[in-house]
């Protein structure tokens, strides 16, 4: 406990009080007081090794000693308020779920450059404009134009 | 909604014109009640309003206002029920609803004008399509 207090005092000294509070909020320390799930992750993470951070800012932890096998890898989501499993990009998914021992940073190299699509989290329930609609769907903004000819447009001027 | 619709049965016969009439009115009310759901599932909010759809339904019913045979009315009522069921069950697609009930059957073509009365058959057809 004392080390925690010492760390806090040191951090305030280094960054100033305002910055310290902001960092507390961004890292979810304030929110975790209300969110037990997050708090548990935070406590869990003490003494664990940070294996990597993906491009969204999710942190991947591993702790091999003193933890039940099968629970030794976990993620702390970048978003502290609205987090869900679909925020884990595919390259980290394998590591996180014990499919492979390669970390996401290593697997990122396998991603095809030309046609690989950016990972998008699942926005279900977040409103029509976020949801993926198939190509022919009315609400898909990039709906295909089936007109097979191009009509003449009257020019602006004469 | 779909299952409640399915449970509504049209009895085989209306005994009198008055009974048929009341059934038609019941049908109209029922379909009006399903309009919000229809607007929701077919994403019609930006193309049509509830009152427009309601008046489309009533005009579809009024098209057959001249009928006086209860059996015929029953038959049409059955067809209307079936159509409503299909729509509510999402058996159709958005463009079906728009084409049939929003733009209207005649609306895709150019509106008939009273001047066309003396126009020849050719001209009337010319206004509607290139192919005749």
């Amino acid at each position: 406990m004392a080390s925690v207090v010492r760390g806090v005092v040191k951090a305030i000294k280094e960054k100033g009080f305002g910055n310290f509070i902001r960092e507390l909020r961004e890292e979810g320390y304030i929110r975790c007081l209300a969110d037990g799930n997050l708090l548990k992750t935070k406590i869990h993470s003490i003494g664990a090794t940070l294996v990597g951070v993906d491009k969204f800012g999710n942190k991947y932890y591993e702790k091999l000693e003193g933890i039940q096998f099968g629970r030794h890898r976990w993620v702390e989501y970048a978003q502290k308020g609205r987090y869900n499993a679909s925020q884990v990009p595919p390259e980290w998914h394998g590591w996180l779920h014990y499919i492979t021992d390669h970390t996401g940073d290593e697997l990122l190299m396998l991603k095809p450059k030309r046609y690989g699509v950016e990972h998008k989290e699942n926005f279900s329930g977040e409103g029509e404009e976020f949801i993926y609609h198939s190509k022919g769907h009315t609400l898909n903004p990039g709906q295909r134009d089936w007109t097979r000819y191009q009509s003449w447009q009257p020019a602006k001027k004469e | 909604m779909a299952f409640t619709m399915r449970s509504v049965k049209v009895p085989p016969n209306s005994a009198s014109l008055a009974e048929a009439r009341s059934r038609v009115i019941d049908f109209f009310k029922k379909s009006c009640r399903s309009i919000p759901a229809i607007m929701e599932i077919y994403n019609l909010h930006d193309v049509v309003t509830v009152s427009q759809l309601r008046s489309t339904i009533s005009s579809e019913i009024r098209k057959n206002a001249h009928l006086s045979n209860p059996k015929v009315i029953d038959m049409l009522l059955f067809k209307g029920m079936e159509e409503l069921g299909n729509i509510v069950e999402h058996a159709k697609q958005r463009h079906h609803i728009i084409g049939q009930y929003v733009v209207g059957r005649e609306g895709l073509m150019q509106d008939a004008s009273p001047k066309d009365q003396e126009a020849s058959e050719f001209l009337k057809q010319f206004y509607t399509s290139n192919y005749f």
Binding site: Y149, S151, P154 | S120
Partner: protein
């Protein structure tokens, strides 16, 4: 297997009849020992072979009955003229020989070896395409030796052919595909690496995948023999052999698209069509080309509402089996810049879409506000005869007599049909021995006519003299002058070419329709007629005096009497009805004139229009067109019209009713009945109505010939009308191929 059968039945005209008689061939033990099987064969009783119908309508003509020789094809005797090859004899007998390099319109190369047949008493199988048939020859096309030979040749051909079929545009209409199914082995023994060849850039039209090439040299022969460009050739030897342009250059020919058709594999395919569709998805519609006055027979291949490509159709009298690049690749213009809604120009000068009812009402109201004399109707160069008839009737009923067709120049002479037609006929040009081209450049004005002239020059050593601006002519010719003064010299017999012309047996004079636009055209024509008279160009058995028209609508317009002079009518017009007329000069048109543009493309004239009425293009309507030799042909709708467009004649008919002068026809049949009273020849479809020739009927000409040199009638071969001007492919062509 079913797919292959279907692909074979789909049978393009080029392989047409051939696949109907294919036989399944399997590797049976007797194939592996052909000698033994051949020895065993005679012992078996000869089966009775019923006579077969000739392949692809092959016919024999005996110019001299003594020349007939008899050969036996599979035991069935056929009589053929001397000099025919074994392959042709087999075709007459109804046996289809597989082939790659042989093409009936090209010289014989004999390098693919696919056409091997067995000939009795010949030690080896013979290449039937290169072997003259000899009397009494016993040809066997179906013996184990022949089958084995074909199978071996096929194996060699496939050795270096990539297994591209799933991604190859030729897939489904590929000769190699079909024939390897029918005649090839069911397995290969080749395990080494296949060779690869660098692709050549032949320009914006022809896509090359040279690894697929089987060195049949059809394209090389086509380029040098028919197209008249020495661009393609064979480089290297052995497995290093490849087709190429000797130095890196584009193929600059107006017929280059035809190499796509004659290539038996997918080495040369259409670049604009690449990966757009598969040939079995397409619906073919047999129609007519309208981009020039030749009226080439085409097949419009469409998928749904879209024209996907245009291919030639066989017509020996007009285009043989070739078409020009403009015809073949203009189709993407049909999908761009289309007018799809009636539009009215508002007071602010902006167009706004209106309904047909409103548009016609506006036009009908305005047309009654002008004096009848001030109404002028102009038919465009792509108009069909029906719509021109309707336009003429409509304008006449409004009380005006001013109807004209663009491109016919001031005061067109339509009294004698022979004075504006190609009287010799296109096929008839092959009999000529001297050509005099007056102010015409057939290579850009009518490439199919030019191909005929070239064919004649090559075959008969016909002499060609050309009067006009310097131009690129792809056969031997003398450029004897640039203007009308050379004509005067010829009239007076002072010119050295006069003697050639006079001594010719079948002289042909071709006058370009560009002359129509000259002010002294009557004088020029009378000079030409004098030359014709002096050189006996027109005789009862030979009519060599020709006019080569430029546009598809011209001949029919003159037949129907759309003969007003634009110089007189346009400056005084208050109501101008343009039916697809984009090339007529509107500079002299008064500013307050009301212009109605009826057409299918937003092209030049749209910008002057007050009302736009969208019409259908030639691929979307049924229409009658008369080509430059007076042959009437019909277009057939291949795709539906775009947007709210209507057929041309229907628009005029509807407008006439709204304007209160109802035209008495409601259908194409009725309008054709009306045409019959004006120009009955327009109803004789696919026939040439011969024009009678008479110099005496013509009034004497008082005009003087001016010394202006003749001008080229077409500036840019690739962009001559609203469709081709809208086409992106044509724009690319003119950018890359016409570059100086």
């Amino acid at each position: 297997m079913g797919f292959v059968l279907r692909a074979l039945q789909r049978a393009r005209p080029a392989i047409g009849g051939r696949v109907s008689t294919f036989r399944w061939i399997t590797s049976t033990p007797d194939l592996h020992k052909p000698e033994g099987a051949a020895a065993a064969e005679p012992a078996a009783p000869e089966p009775e072979i019923p006579p077969r119908t000739p392949v692809g309508g092959a016919r024999v003509q005996f110019s001299n009955p003594d020349d007939a020789i008899e050969v036996f094809v599979d035991g069935y005797p056929v009589k053929i003229p001397k000099g025919m090859t074994v392959l042709q004899a087999c075709e007459v007998a109804g046996v289809d020989i597989p082939r790659f390099c042989y093409h009936s319109r090209l010289s014989i190369a004999g390098n693919c070896r696919m056409c091997l047949v067995e000939v009795e008493k010949s030690p080896k199988p013979v290449a039937s395409c290169a072997m003259p048939a000899l009397p009494g020859m016993k040809i066997k096309t179906n013996t184990p030796v022949a089958k084995k030979a074909r199978e071996g040749v096929m194996e060699f051909l496939l050795m270096n052919h990539p297994l591209d079929c799933p991604i190859c545009d030729q897939g489904g209409e590929c000769d190699l595909q079909d024939q390897s199914m029918a005649f090839g082995s069911d397995r290969g023994r080749f395990t080494e690496m296949k060779r690869s060849v660098v692709d050549k850039n032949l320009g914006p039209l022809v896509k090359t995948v040279m690894t697929r090439c089987i060195q049949c040299t059809r394209c090389v022969r086509f380029a040098s023999e028919i197209a008249g460009v020495q661009d393609l050739g064979m480089l290297g030897r052995g497995s290093g052999e490849e087709i190429g342009t000797y130095v890196e250059k584009l193929m600059t020919s107006e017929l280059s698209g035809n190499v796509i058709d004659i290539c038996p594999v997918g080495a040369l395919t259409s670049k604009p069509f690449a990966f757009k569709a598969r040939n079995w998805e397409l619906k073919g519609t047999e129609s007519i080309d309208v981009t020039d006055a030749v009226g080439s027979n085409i097949r419009i291949d469409s998928r749904g509402p879209e024209v996907m490509r245009i291919l030639p159709r066989l017509n020996e009298d007009i285009n043989e089996e070739w078409i020009s690049d403009k015809t073949r690749f203009c189709y993407d213009g049909l999908k761009r810049q289309r007018l799809n809604d009636p539009m009215i120009r508002g007071p602010d000068g902006r167009f706004k879409s209106v309904s047909w009812r409103d548009a016609l009402a506006v036009v009908a109201e305005v047309i009654h506000q002008v004096k009848p004399d001030e109404i002028v109707g102009v038919a465009g160069k792509l108009s069909d005869a029906e719509s021109m008839m309707a336009l003429k009737d409509f304008v006449n009923r409004m009380g005006s007599n001013s109807v004209l067709c663009e491109g016919n120049g001031p005061n067109p002479q339509a009294d004698l049909r022979s004075s504006y037609l190609m009287n010799t006929s296109i096929a008839g040009l092959e009999k000529a021995d001297v050509f005099l081209l007056v102010g015409t450049q057939p290579r850009v004005e009518a490439p199919m006519v030019n191909a005929r002239i070239r064919k004649t020059v090559k075959a008969n050593q016909a002499k060609v003299a050309y009067i006009g601006p310097p131009t690129d002519i792809n056969y031997d010719h003398q450029h004897i002058g640039t203007g009308a003064e050379t004509l005067v010299e010829l009239v007076e017999g002072r010119h050295p070419f006069s003697s050639t012309l006079h001594s010719a047996k079948n002289p042909v004079i071709i006058v370009g329709a560009g002359i129509f636009e000259r002010d002294d055209k009557d004088a020029v024509f009378s000079a030409v007629e004098t030359i014709a008279k002096n050189a006996k160009v027109v005789r009862p058995d030979w009519n060599g005096l020709n006019v080569l028209l430029l546009n598809a609508a011209q001949a029919a317009a003159l037949d129907l009497g759309l003969v007003s002079s634009p110089n007189d009518t346009i400056p005084s017009a208050k109501f101008l009805y343009l039916m697809g007329a984009d090339d007529i000069s509107l500079e002299k048109l008064p500013d307050d004139a009301f212009v109605v543009y009826q057409g299918h493309h937003g092209d030049k004239s749209v910008y002057r229009a007050n009302v736009i009425l969208p019409a259908s293009a030639f691929s979307e309507k049924e229409g009658t067109y008369e080509n430059t030799e007076g042959c009437t042909q019909w277009t057939v709708p291949a795709v539906p019209t775009v947007g709210d467009a209507r057929d041309d004649w229907k628009i005029v008919r509807a407008l006439s009713e709204v304007a209160g002068v109802r035209l008495p026809y409601d259908s194409l049949t009725a309008i054709r009945a009306r045409i019959k009273t004006v120009a009955p020849n327009l109803l004789q479809v696919d026939e040439r109505e011969l024009a009678t020739m008479s110099f005496e009927l013509k009034p004497p000409v008082s005009q003087k010939i001016s010394s202006d040199p003749f001008k080229p009638a077409i500036e840019n071969f690739y962009m001559t009308d609203s469709i081709t001007r809208a086409s992106k492919i044509m724009a690319q062509c003119s950018a890359s191929l016409l570059k100086k």
